[in-house]
Symmetry: C2
Subunit: 168 residues, 2 copies
């Protein structure tokens, strides 16, 4: 399975949490708490997203991070690119005629590019706003679910053993 790494997954989770209180400045620690993503990773990710101008960092006391733009103007493609570099499927990529050690024999690059572009398009078509969780608090599926939310159990805190599965 082609997969984004955990970090990128984390980033989307974090960002969609931040998009909730749009524009507000939040500390890394707060985000870690809210999203359940381990603090060191949160802080590493926030730095990267800051550099990529997806977030604005506010230094000093009372500082933190805030979204640089409205969630609907931040594409998933941008997030992925910020964290994993250019969207592409193999090492044989991009016009970059330096990367692939076998240009004369491996003439596939053009076609991989076609695939890559399609993928990039797909990621560009989805914005952070599209990825945001629905506001459960207003429409809890059950008492049990509401309890989970109130006790602050979040994504990364839920171990496979204690997994909550939606009834069929």
């Amino acid at each position: 399975m082609i997969r984004l790494n955990k970090m990128t997954d984390y980033a989307v989770v974090m960002l969609s949490h931040m998009a909730g209180d749009h524009g507000k400045v939040v500390t890394a620690a707060r985000i870690a708490l809210d999203s359940g993503v381990p603090l060191p990773s949160v802080s590493k990710l926030l730095k990267q997203l800051g550099k990529a101008n997806i977030l604005i960092s506010h230094r000093g006391a009372g500082g933190g991070y805030s979204l640089g733009r409205a969630a609907k103007n931040i594409s998933v493609a941008e997030i992925v690119t910020a964290l994993e570099g250019p969207i592409a499927l193999t090492a044989c990529i991009d016009g970059a005629d330096t990367s692939c050690g076998s240009l004369p024999l491996c003439a596939m690059s053009g076609h991989w590019n076609q695939v890559n572009r399609a993928i990039e398009g797909a990621l560009q078509g989805v914005s952070l706003a599209d990825m945001m969780p629905r506001p459960f608090a207003f429409k809890p599926a059950s008492d049990e679910l509401r309890l989970e939310i109130k006790t602050g159990v979040q994504q990364a805190d839920i171990k496979p053993e204690t997994q909550i599965t939606r009834a069929p």
Copy 2:
């Protein structure tokens, strides 16, 4: 960068080599030699591709592998799926309501699916035939290039140091 792993990359290289002599039965050892992919990996990959009905295996003396279908009827999506499982971007995938440990909190799955489907579409749109190298032998770019081909230097044999780059 989102990337297929080396194995899948190898597989496409191998398969496109096989598609050259279409239908012919070739041994794993021969393919390894031709494509420059290490034999153990070749053999592992061929087994997997056989199971997925992309290749037909012929056991016993004089055996080997042959393409199960014409190259143009084998999609890249199929190859990827055979080797890496279902095409999807995160663990939060597929209707499969067992995989994600945070269904009630992570309501993104639907949107990831949208992205995933687009990617699968992109991969399905490219066939093995599309990925095949053009027949250089008939149209060598230079004497040097022809030499390389004659001496059997292939993709994986070319080290970065001895990289052949096409003149601009």
